[in-house]
């Protein structure tokens, strides 16, 4: 777990792009099936990834 977190923080852009490619599909499926809790988690992940890129560059 610590290793994964280290990789995420050391390569924020790669993490953000990976999430940008996966999350839209999950987010769409969650919203269309009215699973709002899952949808807000997806949105939260994207916001976190963008914040990471903005802070770490």
């Amino acid at each position: 777990m610590i290793e994964i977190m280290k990789k995420i923080f050391s390569q924020p852009k790669l993490t953000a792009v990976t999430l940008d490619l996966i999350i839209p599909v999950l987010l769409y499926l969650s919203l269309m099936n009215e699973k709002y809790f899952a949808a807000w988690i997806c949105l939260g992940l994207i916001i976190a990834a963008r914040m990471l890129v903005a802070v770490k560059g």
């Binding site: 792009v17 987010l27 949105l43």
Partner: protein, 515 residues
């Protein structure tokens, strides 16, 4: 929402913040885009009644729009790195620099046609990085070489990189490409003639223009006609590559025929270009033409498309975006698919010819991933900003403000400068189109101006602006060893570039008056 200065200012805040981060804080597009997306979402939430559902669906819509463009960017970059790895780009450059000793004609070959050809295939700063050192090797000073290669391909940016920026324009505005291609090709045609004369002037001042004006005019008209012919028929992804290749071939024979007894050739050399160097481009053109012109192929491939449906979205203050399908992606006839197929065939041929070493494919894939990472992230963020702004009517407020301030008589002149500003700061024609195409379109509608002409002004202005962007100038300077002299290069590029944008602005002004 009511239009007043405060609302206009808040609507403009995402763009201002993005520009300040890039220009003031010198952040890259990916980092500035990420923070600007967060700020845009916050502004939309706090001031324009956006809810979480609207932001989430905007994000998904932006993903589809981005993928449409990224498929081209990734595959075009893959093809370019493949040709670089096989040494074909270098072979073409060396061959061109050996054709003539006349400096104005060398300027035409290496400062105008060759960078334009490279821009048609790849772009991403490559035209200057490859052409400027070749110009230096033929005797031009490094500043002159960088400025010539930069200005020389300014016209080719909009339809360059397999028409990525133009594809973004289509995606963001939702207008058919064939309609936008007409006006864009005409303005680009004007731009190509002017850049040709600017390059010959930079190469040898007045003498350069006097000795090559017939050649420059013939080539300019040929480039403009070829690009127009292909673009309005939906073949915009190859319009720059094909027209530049034709112009290169014509200029080669022109020099060979006229060169025996006059100024064009000072020494006789045996010139040969390995056929294999041109193969990737020939394959790409052949596949594109087959798919687009042989009846039945495109129609059959277009049956395989991907589109998803979006519900009606309403902000908390009552602005409505109607329900409907998002961006449809024809995944078998998509330009990215065609480029990828060309690249794989070229790869197989290069391997067979021994031009690529073992393990080259994984190296090319890694290099493509590395070089496209920042662009990918920037595109996702920037398109996301544009979609949130349009769904919360921020773009509409901005457009209405501009139309009130400038009026119908002045806006056409300013329109290409807006595109230029966006590209100068973001370093990209595509980013400028994402930022400003919606705004330009709505302003044109409000003022009763022709939307395709104004959008053409936006993207052509942005194309010119992208060659002035500090990041690209720095890259060009680095390839010819111009450290710490970027300021003087930017100054020269700005003066030529702004002259070009002004000429485009005047043409747009006249065109919208008579339309």
């Amino acid at each position: 929402m009511e239009i007043n200065f405060l609302n206009w200012l808040v609507s403009a805040l995402p763009i201002f913040i993005f520009l300040i981060l890039m220009l003031g804080f010198k952040w890259g597009g990916s980092r500035a885009g990420a923070l600007s997306w967060l700020i845009t979402a916050a502004i939309a939430f706090l001031f324009f009644g956006a809810n979480l559902e609207l932001i989430a669906f905007s994000y998904i819509k932006a993903f589809l729009l981005s993928m449409d463009v990224l498929l081209i960017i990734w595959t075009a970059l893959f093809l370019y790195i493949l040709t670089e790895e096989a040494g074909t780009v270098q072979a073409i450059g060396k061959w061109l620099s050996a054709i003539t000793k006349n400096i104005a004609v060398q300027g035409i070959f290496l400062g105008w046609l060759f960078p334009s050809f490279l821009q048609g295939m790849g772009g991403f700063g490559v035209p200057v990085a490859v052409a400027a050192p070749l110009l230096v090797s033929t005797g031009f000073n490094p500043i002159q070489a960088t400025v010539m290669a930069s200005v020389g391909h300014a016209w080719a940016v909009t339809f360059g990189s397999m028409a990525t920026s133009f594809q973004i324009l289509i995606a963001v505005t939702g207008l058919p490409g064939e309609i936008l291609a007409h006006a864009t090709s005409i303005l680009t045609g004007i731009s190509v003639l002017v850049t040709g004369f600017l390059v010959t002037y930079m190469a040898d001042k007045k003498r350069g223009i006097q000795s090559t004006w017939i050649l420059t005019t013939v080539l300019g008209l040929l480039l403009a006609a070829g690009m127009y012919f292909l673009s309005v028929r939906g073949l915009w992804i190859i319009s720059i590559t094909v027209s530049s290749l034709i112009a290169l071939v014509v200029s080669y024979f022109w020099v060979r025929i006229t060169g025996r007894n006059n100024v064009y050739t000072s020494e006789k050399r045996k010139l040969s270009l390995p056929f294999v160097a041109l193969l990737p481009y020939i394959i790409l053109v052949a596949i594109t033409l087959t798919v687009n012109l042989v009846p039945g192929i495109k129609e059959t491939l277009n049956l395989f498309d991907f589109s998803i449906y979006f519900p009606e979205l309403t902000t908390n203050i009552g602005d409505v975006t109607p329900a409907g399908p998002g961006r449809s992606i024809n995944y078998l006839s998509h330009p990215g698919e065609i480029i990828f197929l060309s690249a794989m065939i070229s790869f197989a041929i290069f391997r067979k010819a021994g031009r690529l070493k073992k393990g080259a494919l994984s190296k090319i894939i890694k290099e493509t991933a590395n070089r496209s990472l920042n662009t990918t992230l920037a595109i996702f963020s920037m398109v996301g900003i544009a979609v949130i702004m349009s769904h919360t009517k921020m773009t509409g407020i901005l457009s209405e403000g501009i139309s009130i301030a400038l009026g119908k008589s002045l806006f056409p002149l300013v329109s290409p400068f807006i595109g230029t500003l966006g590209a100068f700061i973001t370093g990209s024609n595509s980013n400028s189109n994402v930022l400003f195409a919606g705004l330009q379109m709505q302003t044109a509608e409000l003022l009763g101006l022709s939307v395709p002409i104004i959008l053409a002004a936006q993207t052509v202005g942005a194309g010119i602006g992208s060659i002035m962007a500090p990041a690209k100038v720095i890259l060009g300077c680095a390839t010819v060893g111009l450290n710490e002299q970027e300021g003087s290069v930017i100054g020269k590029i700005l003066s030529y570039g702004l002259l070009l944008v002004f000429i485009i602005g005047i043409c747009v002004l006249i065109w919208t008056r008579i339309e």
